[in-house]
Symmetry: C2
Subunit: 417 residues, 2 copies
């Protein structure tokens, strides 16, 4: 079960190999959920884990689990993250966490076998389906279904922009199943995707809570007209309405951020219809999200957003419809898990500090159903969702050591409630 | 040659028939340039005109000409417009003008034959290729090549968003040729696409000039980043930059319009890359145009636009690149043609007034090489580039009578220089 090559070299070699799947010219990867390339990364991961004696299964929404049964009948400690990526995404986001989980599991399996000890739990490595949410919305789809927050049927019927369903896409790449997993607790390591660890000169971030996030889908309804013949007074310009909303969202972030609590607003997707050079747009669909570390600050920013929407409707003479929304409250991770992680880092001599995660992760879902530990390693310059995303080999290897130590303590029974 | 059914009924029947080609559920048409449906409308028009004894030819850029030789060797009076449409466009824009030209030509041919007179010119009806410019940019492509403003080779190599060239698309629908036409003068009738005739209660608009228009293609360059992890200070948000430009363009239109000279600004096309829900946009391509009836007012508005661009680059921390530009100066139509048209309307007892065209038309190009007359009929509520575009049967028929009278005078030699 144990590696014959030095374990750090083995990890780096596997990471380089994984990074070739869907590799882009700019040094990133493009592995959007349930595409053929995502299928390749899943099959590669299956081969890797089966080669080390793990059993690999898929659940009803395509979550991939590599299992090593150490104690017949016991539930599982799950280490995981995701192998899917953004279009032109970085090669570390998610992939690092899955592979770090795999190597932590391999090292522990080897250690337990060598020492002849029996752990309290079995161990599994998870590759959660569609964490990114770019091809199929919402993000964190697989872990949302797994934790009962999203009905499986609804996820499976979700379509991509070409009308392909999740179910069809999963079947096409052969990674749809019916496995169910008995989970006891969860740990995840991820690149920070921000610069707080780098700025503070720390190696390990102990995630203490998620930010609160209100995510909205808006549709701005105008009226199609000829740009070359329709005077301003007669226009109902959906593009003007949507653009005003983008500008207002930025202003709200700036005005509502305080010294203690930052507000961040974003518009990532913005689709204009009919998008012809000489036609006033009849409709724009856009996503707006508002995030903050503080619930009251978030509520005030959100109220301001909705007040501004009413102004924009009048100003651009359009109607703004609010569609689906996804609300995540700011929530704390398990305090005992934080302490276990801090003790692990101290044991290994790794510098560490507490951080909050602005981004959502699969652990955001898992922490609501089982004891969960979330760890970060530094991102160079905080760059993420970008081909230039980077974490140093040294930081990656320290992260694997950290996750191995944490998982070893959990397997020994330190963290089971 | 003459119709056996009453000519007004024949026109309306042909117009209804033409309107079924590419008909949309909302009462409009979708006949984007050189699509299979545009090919159908061209083939239908060929059949119609050949059935009445005309010869039909295509030139090097797919302009379609239906010719009736009345005086061997003489050059042609051309009546024309375009059969292509916007996506979800109206059924009158362009199509009305081509069919009105066809029926005016048929009526005159019948009249000349009955009276045994020999005219000064031959007569042709033109369906100019790609007036709309939505699938292939720029608009007025066919008439731009015909008038020597755009090299044929450049037009033919232009690609649509799927990489298909104009040449390939024209060959696919069988409407690419090598015909050349000896043109003496040009007349076009079109729906107004504005509401000045309706507001003034007039039936015929005599177009005295085009508005000046500066059209720009901008590319806003930002930096791809994770919306959920990148703080505001670290963002280079191309979508914020582009949205600010859309908002600024509207403000400029409002601030620079005077009682005498209106300024109109538009953004019709706006494409976000990578357009993923959780990614700060790295790039937005958008078109902005500024129009005015006065050259000085236009110049002032244009200068303000470029000053605002510099502000936006700083504010959103992005770079805004100006790509292709198309500049049309405000230009007058032929004064003798205006007088000929006014006399024609008076002869027929049709109310008329002078108007300026805010939109570009094929006549905008033709007027720069031959004596040209441009006429409008009213648009209900000024609605255009919209399935709800409407011109009444009565106004359409008055327009056909008007064009017939104008063309009859031109054929008789009143307008040839």
């Amino acid at each position: 079960m144990a590696y014959e090559t030095p374990p750090d070299d083995a990890f780096l070699a596997d990471f380089r190999s994984l990074s070739t799947i869907g590799a882009t010219a700019g040094g990133g990867v493009d592995r959007q959920a349930a595409t053929p390339v995502d299928g390749q990364s899943r099959t590669w991961f299956r081969g890797l884990m089966e080669g080390h004696g793990f059993d690999v299964h898929y659940d009803e929404v395509g979550n991939q689990f590599a299992l090593l049964q150490l104690v017949p009948g016991a539930p599982y400690l799950v280490l995981g993250s995701h192998l899917d990526s953004q279009p032109l995404g970085g090669r570390f986001d998610g992939a690092y966490g899955v592979l770090a989980g795999a190597h932590a599991a391999l090292r522990l399996a080897g250690r337990l076998a060598a020492e002849g000890r029996t752990p309290a739990l079995n161990i599994a490595v998870a590759n959660w389906f569609n964490e990114e949410g770019c091809r199929f919305k919402p993000s964190m789809m697989g872990s949302s279904v797994f934790t009962g927050k999203l009905p499986a049927e609804q996820a499976l019927q979700t379509t991509d922009p070409h009308g392909v369903t999740v179910q069809q896409a999963l079947e096409d790449i052969g990674t749809h199943g019916d496995f169910t997993l008995d989970i006891a607790c969860y740990a995840e390591i991820h690149i920070e995707q921000g610069r707080s660890l780098e700025d503070a000169g720390l190696t390990i971030g102990l995630v203490e809570s998620t930010w609160g996030a209100n995510k909205y889908e808006f549709v701005v309804h105008g009226e199609q007209a000829h740009t070359g013949a329709t005077v301003i007074a007669d226009r109902h310009d959906a593009l003007l309405g949507a653009s005003s909303l983008v500008v207002a969202a930025r202003e709200i972030a700036e005005q509502h951020s305080t010294d203690d609590h930052m507000v961040i607003t974003s518009c990532g997707e913005f689709t204009v219809f009919p998008n012809s050079p000489v036609v006033v747009a009849s409709q724009v669909k856009l996503l707006v999200d508002v995030r903050s570390t503080d619930a009251d600050v978030l509520a005030a920013a959100d109220a301001e957003l909705h007040r501004r929407i009413a102004d924009i409707e009048q100003r651009a003479d359009v109607r703004i419809e609010r569609g689906a929304e996804h609300i995540w409250d700011a929530k704390a991770y398990d305090q005992a898990g934080m302490e276990l992680a801090a003790a692990s880092a101290d044991e290994l001599g790794l510098s560490h500090g507490t951080v909050r995660t602005l981004a959502g992760h699969d652990s955001t879902n898992l922490k609501d159903i089982v004891p969960t530990i979330m760890l970060f390693v530094p991102s160079v310059e905080g760059i993420s969702h970008n081909e230039r995303e980077l974490t140093s080999d040294e930081d990656m290897l320290d992260g694997v050591r950290m996750l191995t130590e944490v998982a070893g303590r959990v397997l020994a029974g330190e963290f089971v409630r």
